[in-house]
Symmetry: C2
Subunit: 378 residues, 2 copies
């Protein structure tokens, strides 16, 4: 069986990611492939690192990208920083916090997990209480919980990690490039993100950053990192001069990341954050006009990812299928415990525009009318 | 620091990979990004799986691609199939066999490693002798050793694995799409490859295939797979209907793989293998004409990757730098123990043409004359 050439549909990507990709990023992606040790590629990789440091708010030398998706970044950071038997404190308030717990456990961590309510930030005081009397070497928290649209303030977690003498790790998959991240100011030791949300590149790389203290922790491990592919020492052996071979990084994904991070910095971080806030406020007004209620309180709401309650009597899946087939528009549904109860609307990166907010609201109005009509006829 | 837009050089990629990418594959890469659960993307992924089954020579249901490079494929297969304490027999005859050993060890495998000579195939009889009296659950061998250009016959390893009652795993990173692979005929239980060599796509995905017996082995593990990112059960939960979320696969890399595998099958596997043989024979004639000697005996030589001895008195690195800067041509140097002693010339996939062989020979003639002149003046 040989399939005919594939032509994807032209979707407006307003789910929790991937987000819309700027034309110049797609053009960069298709530039000619070069070798993974080509001096010109190594130069572009060095520039990507500089861009990422600026966006992460860090001067960490060990800032680079894992060759995989955001989840690979999570696993890379955790598998390097956790040794079997290490006490790990994981605060969860959604699907991705649970994933951190899962991966920390597979790395041999002895996890103390503090489950918060989905839809609210985690409570540092509860975590502090849970940690009492335990040896905690690493604290992990999710900055922007993609499953709920909740923003987590990092300062209290930085304070808690300091009290415990533990490293602080942060999931920034849905925050990087959308809301401020201050890796150095918050003394974050390990952080991971992805390329296809706030940065609006294509998926396939996971930006990460390790503090000097974290690098030192990895260097002084008593056991080898369980993963060869994610081994920090080997990865830095490739990313740092003299650049020894470790794996064949995709030059094309580097081109796209280079261009995407350039666009972020050319816009300016403050201007970008403000655009996300403005567009989000506008979209939420439109959504309220349709009778849709936000899932998250204003104080903890992520501007880049608005979560809305599915109204009673509306078939979540049927509505999203119609958005896709009739409007070429993707939004996300609920994950895990929130399946069928939430819509997740991402107005992220290149996609965070008033025009897209309007197009989304108008498409929602259209399909909601249809769905409510169908419900009334049932 | 904001770097200016990056424009890569236009290299002729005749190293051990990445190989030259067909224009239609680069065009596919830059098609609009869609969501990782978009029904149209899932259709394209299904078609990629069919294409990969045909190229791997298998009807294995569990045939798909890991979101990472070839090394991630190696780690994915080994980390699923090895449980801590399992006896593993690894036959090495080069750099990548050693990597299999390294990863198998990190997975908790108790490895019996049989080191063969670099430049020759591994000897199944020596491996059989080494396995005597040991409990071996998995045998791993490298089909096409990228560091030396040696081809390994698989039938004797299939027989050995059967004798031992062990699973057979094969590294096909440099063989897939260049020389025949018969996963089903050779009863291979786990195999990994990459997208940027014989398939001539861009790097970033790792095609893998697991036999039903291997899937069963994973299902009946007593311990969880140490990697969440590479966990076969979770990956199949995404690749198989009803397609639950596991990670955000890069739609763009799927488009490229779809087109690249289409091109392989449209050419036809037999025609493709014959083209590699023909072009390789032609290139070796040209190389001999320049006084260059092959590193590997004809009986074990890979057509897609010709290894040549660096002539006495020639500075390997200086020559390859000149090839790159003066001819925009990349070839590979020696890895590990063979550093400085070998050139590795890949005429792979889309790049396997008489024209490229000629361009390479002509560039080599030019820089060799320069280097030999420089050596004479020293």
């Amino acid at each position: 069986m040989i399939a005919p050439a594939f032509t994807p549909p032209n979707r407006l990507l307003l789910g929790p990611g991937p987000s819309p990709v700027a034309p110049s990023v797609l053009r960069a992606l298709a530039l000619p492939t070069v070798g993974h040790l080509d001096p010109e590629l190594l130069r572009a990789m060095g520039e990507c690192r500089e861009h990422l440091r600026a966006i992460f708010g860090t001067s960490n030398a060990a800032t680079f990208a894992i060759s995989g998706t955001g989840t690979s970044g999570m696993e890379a950071v955790l598998s390097n920083l956790i040794e079997p038997g290490d006490g790990v404190l994981v605060a969860t308030h959604g699907y991705f916090g649970a994933r951190v717990d899962e991966i920390a456990g597979r790395c041999g961590g002895v996890v103390t997990r503090v489950d918060g309510e989905w839809g609210q930030p985690s409570d540092p005081q509860r975590a502090r209480d849970a940690a009492r009397g335990r040896s905690i070497k690493l604290v992990a928290v999710v900055h922007a919980e993609t499953s709920t649209g909740v923003r987590q303030e990092l300062a209290p977690w930085s304070a808690l990690a300091s009290e415990l003498g533990a490293l602080l790790c942060v999931d920034a998959v849905t925050s990087l490039g959308c809301i401020p991240i201050e890796v150095d100011a918050h003394r974050i030791d390990g952080i991971w993100s992805c390329t296809q949300k706030g940065l609006s590149s294509t998926p396939g790389l996971a930006p990460v950053s390790f503090s000097p203290r974290a690098v030192e922790r990895v260097r002084s491990r008593k056991t080898p990192v369980q993963s060869f592919y994610f081994d920090l020492g080997l990865l830095l052996g490739f990313w740092d001069a003299p650049h020894g071979y470790h794996h064949t990084i995709s030059s094309n994904l580097i081109y796209a990341l280079h261009e995407a991070t350039r666009l972020v910095l050319e816009e300016g971080l403050e201007a970008r954050f403000e655009r996300h806030r403005r567009v989000s406020t506008y979209f939420l007004e439109c959504a309220r006009g349709l009778g849709l209620a936000p899932f998250v309180a204003e104080s903890a709401r992520l501007p880049q990812l608005t979560t809305l309650r599915v109204p009673a009597g509306v078939d979540d899946l049927a509505l999203r299928k119609r958005l896709l087939s009739e409007h070429d528009l993707e939004i996300g549904g609920g994950l895990g415990a929130l399946k069928g109860q939430l819509w997740r609307v991402g107005l992220m990166g290149y996609g965070a525009t008033e025009g897209n907010a309007e197009r989304c609201a108008s498409a929602l109005r259209d399909v909601l009318a249809g769905e409510r009509g169908a419900a009334a006829r049932r």
